[in-house]
Subunit: 444 residues, 3 copies
């Protein structure tokens, strides 16, 4: 397919370079270092527009690097966690970790601009560690959606998705956090549910009838499952940082850490139990273990900094592990066959349903008076807003991604690195060239 | 073997769910967030019941999140370090990293309860980062013992072991730290020696004559050795955090970091040298490199916060690397053939002997006046107590684990993920089904 | 080749043990824990002999463990980052990560002594976290040079190189930082350019005509490329820590983090774009992605703590990604064929040219008044000094390494673990014995 390759040969590098040059220009105009003036006020404003109750934070102790270890934990989740989690496919490891790096590296720049627009100080975005954490967060939405369309989209399509999704995310985030004043410290709604349903909407629009009966490369091999576990375990370990990074310092941040830690621990037990219950001969399924063990981190996000007590967080984790595993086993096949939603990584089970669960738990917890601020109605509005922006934004984005100019890969080359990467030849298995693939086909 | 599978099909998930529900109920009754009141006093009490000499710590500066980066380092050791270190077996990677996650996730909840019982405040366990670090520590004992029986036990057996071992560990820890007032900041005795001899006692009780001549799956392949190195290197890097996490803040914590850092560095050189000396043609053996390079971290544990000076720590590391490597080469085969102790990962060489070495070094260092508190006699009592609880506790636990109801795997399915996991089919190598295995056997 | 093996059998372990024992003795004589007295003054002196302008750092807030999270990030880069980055070769993974561990573990001890000699306090080297970071830094030079000669040198040769390179590095570092007073907070010149040109000089001296037409093992397989990505991503994520670890605390350190973060992000886009532009059919090349995405971290090093603004840092990263990728594609083959420089990992493209670019950017930035201190002339002198020490030091070191007594591997055994490691037999692929290799050769 030389036409296709010629297309890509020019489109991808030119798009990447133009995007980067535009981004640098925008950084030149808008972005400066934070000089520490008006720092605390700004920071609080980001999390909470009504920052009257923040005098407890003794601002004399804060230094600009305080959040840096938290930032690095989140950074590891974005680049190692999401990157390796998606390497489970047998022939798509280069793309999983490589395109993850590409999208996240571009996304964090774009996210910094999009999020910063809402918090300008005299026309400038003042960059600090908190903004870097939030920029990393904004890329998480894209990486979640990437999971839904993994193996079926070109790098050019994915760069388009990155721009659009982060832009839409930033609008919804501003609405939820600053206008509605809703609680979502661990972002069950604004990142996880948003990213999942956005990706599912894209996947629906990009539905491929040709993959209705599966694809020989849409599966794992032993070592690819091992690589994926690197992603799983790093996500699992650092999720307490994800859910607490932008929490109010001190006791509140500790609460967010504890809730996430115990929710994840409880979730592991329920994910393993249900995986064994639903599988053939009581065996465990790597797909469940790689994903559903993390659902507790997603689901406890909205409530992470609330006084739900450790056992409350554990109950959330327990339920999340159950519904996530059941979703992989029973719901994903239905979504694929009946609704035309081919969700490669099962993000609906890891981020979608647990994210909605987190949003619902947040409504209940706020109604029960467990939060320092907010109202159940605003929490419900935040959940509805996140789902609405995700589904409509994702559908529009999917339509744009479907334009034939972006070089969508043909069905038979899905889930295969060799379309976009030079793949080393080995034992005739990863032959790495379309020519060889064609040849095999002819001979077969 | 359908009978076996049916057994497991119900036993494992039911046990896991029941344990988790009981644990959540206990958390509901006993565990609350730490509100910061009486925090410092409590913390010191945990390490040192005679906390008269702690006024140097300027408590005004401590915040509830101070220890969080240390906690995360320890967390990485537990879940990535131990998990991947055990992935060296060619067909047991899913179980190594997956069951490691399961046991640690359950163990940290159980450990939090068991350790917390000794430090209740008005009937409540007040959860903070220090308690989370100690909970992670308690799971380390189980993961060490898991190494001794790796490949030869069912998940149900291992959950039973987790409950019993952490319970016994918590008793011994309380005795050593609070009653005897012994020094063991890096836990050479109470974690490493304890976990190793506990596991060896279990392995002895579960002795399998059928594996006397080895097992075809009890070995590594090239890539499984590479995965194991991920575990080794993360353990190696973060060991200074392990040994200093609960040390007194400030200069003492720095001392623990420095001693561990230089001990590990010296240990690498001696492990490489001795590996090359004892191997065929002077080659290096991956088993030694994966394990013995860490012995310096184990052995310096008890003395880590003492004024032994960097060169003293290096001498401990040098000796640890030597005895650990020699143990792998010469002692493990004897233990297996003469004493009936089949120690899959060689935990005796990595945790057992170096742990005892650490205990002995602690006795000497305290006798030489290098410690701020304690006596040589109490150090010796602590070592004896740890070994005694480990051997007796491990033997009893082994007997319980040997009950036929827990579904111990048959000899021919040892060291094979496919008994408990859906394993992807690939190149006829990881066939992933007992049926296929049977078929092969028939044809062969 | 029994003679060779007998050589190694004794030389390597004896050398390793003797070196370690000498090192321990030197630690016994010179190294003590830092007692905190004169701490801040000393620390500033290390970075800046004219420390009159450091009163802004409120020393009352510093504690001895403040830099520990930064240290651990750097530690991960050294041991996981460099170690796994080099595992891309199909049959050299054990050596890459294993010898990396060996050299770094010895190098950090030697570096602590060599660097400490210039900063003694009453005849003692007072060890603290900052010195541990600098010791880790000193090993980075060796690991960079190791990349140039990867697969073609024996462990004994590499230990010799470690001693000599760190010694020479420490002299140049002292000259650049303390005598010239040049800026190089992220060490573009004194680590990256130095390590690369040192290694290239060694590689030139050790030129192997027999490898002129390549070597069958000098390439990757699918999974070895995946392992290498672990190294890449950890290096990428933690590079902000590398470039800011020894920066002045507070706002300056934040500046170094931000500049590195955005430079790396921009670099990813340009590396991907150019990789696709120059490759066959617009495909991406793993070698570029594994390496050139990091060039932005190297190149922004010298300017990292200067007021170059985020967009300035991004421009540096953009250019670094371009020249690094072009170097891999077009310059490396020329160096190999025309200059006799066989650079296994392409360190010239990742560390050499981007390091020089960083040095040049530093000269310009200082001339533009972006730095708090220093002069363009001193920056230029620092760059010249670093290159001079590297090339001359590397050439001399190469000559010493070429002495036949160190057991250089024969051409046909290059890039093959089985010369130095017991390699598990599997599918006749990694046969792990010279005998089998000989047999194959005979049969072929």
């Amino acid at each position: 397919m030389p036409a296709y390759s010629t297309n890509m040969r020019l489109k991808f590098p030119i798009l990447a370079l133009i995007l980067e040059i535009i981004t640098i220009a925008l950084f030149g105009i808008f972005v400066v270092y934070d000089d520490g003036k008006g720092h605390d006020a700004h920071q609080d404003a980001h999390q909470d527009p009504h920052h009257g109750d923040h005098h407890a934070t003794n601002s004399s102790e804060t230094s600009p690097m305080d959040l840096y270890p938290m930032f690095q934990d989140v950074h590891v989740m974005i680049f190692i966690g999401f990157g390796f989690l998606m390497t489970f496919l047998k022939k798509y490891g280069f793309s999983s970790v490589g395109i993850n790096l590409l999208l996240a590296a571009f996304g964090l720049q774009w996210g910094l601009l999009m999020q910063g627009l809402w918090h300008m100080d005299k026309g400038k975005i003042k960059m600090d560690i908190l903004k870097m954490i939030n920029a990393d967060f904004s890329t998480a939405t894209v990486l979640i959606s990437f999971g839904a369309v993994l193996g079926k989209t070109s790098p050019v399509q994915l760069l388009i998705m990155t721009i659009l999704e982060i832009t839409i995310f930033s609008i919804n985030e501003h609405l939820v956090v600053s206008i509605l004043g809703a609680n979502d410290v661990g972002a069950s709604m604004i990142i996880h549910a948003f990213g999942a349903y956005f990706g599912l909407a894209v996947a629906r629009v990009l539905y491929r009838p040709g993959l209705r009966n599966g694809h020989e490369n849409d599966g794992s091999v032993y070592h690819s499952d091992m690589f994926a576990m690197i992603g799983t375990v790093f996500l699992w370990m650092f999720w307490p940082s994800f859910n607490s990074a932008i929490a109010d310092r001190g006791a509140t941040q500790l609460t967010a850490v504890i809730n996430t830690y115990v929710s994840l621990a409880a979730c592991v037990l329920s994910a393993y139990a249900v995986s064994s219950l639903v599988e053939h001969r009581g065996k465990l399924d790597m797909v469940h273990i790689q994903n559903a063990t993390l659902a507790g981190g997603v689901a406890v996000g909205t409530c992470a900094d609330m006084q739900i007590q450790p056992f409350g967080a554990m109950l959330i984790g327990l339920v999340a592990g159950i519904i996530s595993t059941l979703g992989f086993k029973h719901l994903s096949p239905i979504l694929a066959s009946n609704l035309g939603i081919q969700d490669t990584c099962g993000v609906h089970n890891l981020h979608g349903m647990p994210g909605v669960l987190g949003g619902l738990a947040g409504i209940i917890a706020v109604a029960m008076g467990k939060a320092a601020k907010g109202s159940a109605a605003m929490q419900a509005a935040a959940l509805a807003s996140s789902l609405g922006f995700a589904l409509i934004g994702g559908a529009i984005t999917g339509l744009i991604m479907k334009l034939p100019i972006w070089g969508q890969p043909p069905d038979q080359n899905c889930f295969d690195d060799s379309l976009y990467w030079e793949v080393p030849e080995e034992e005739g298995e990863h032959d790495g060239s379309l020519a060889a693939a064609e040849k095999n086909k002819t001979e077969a």
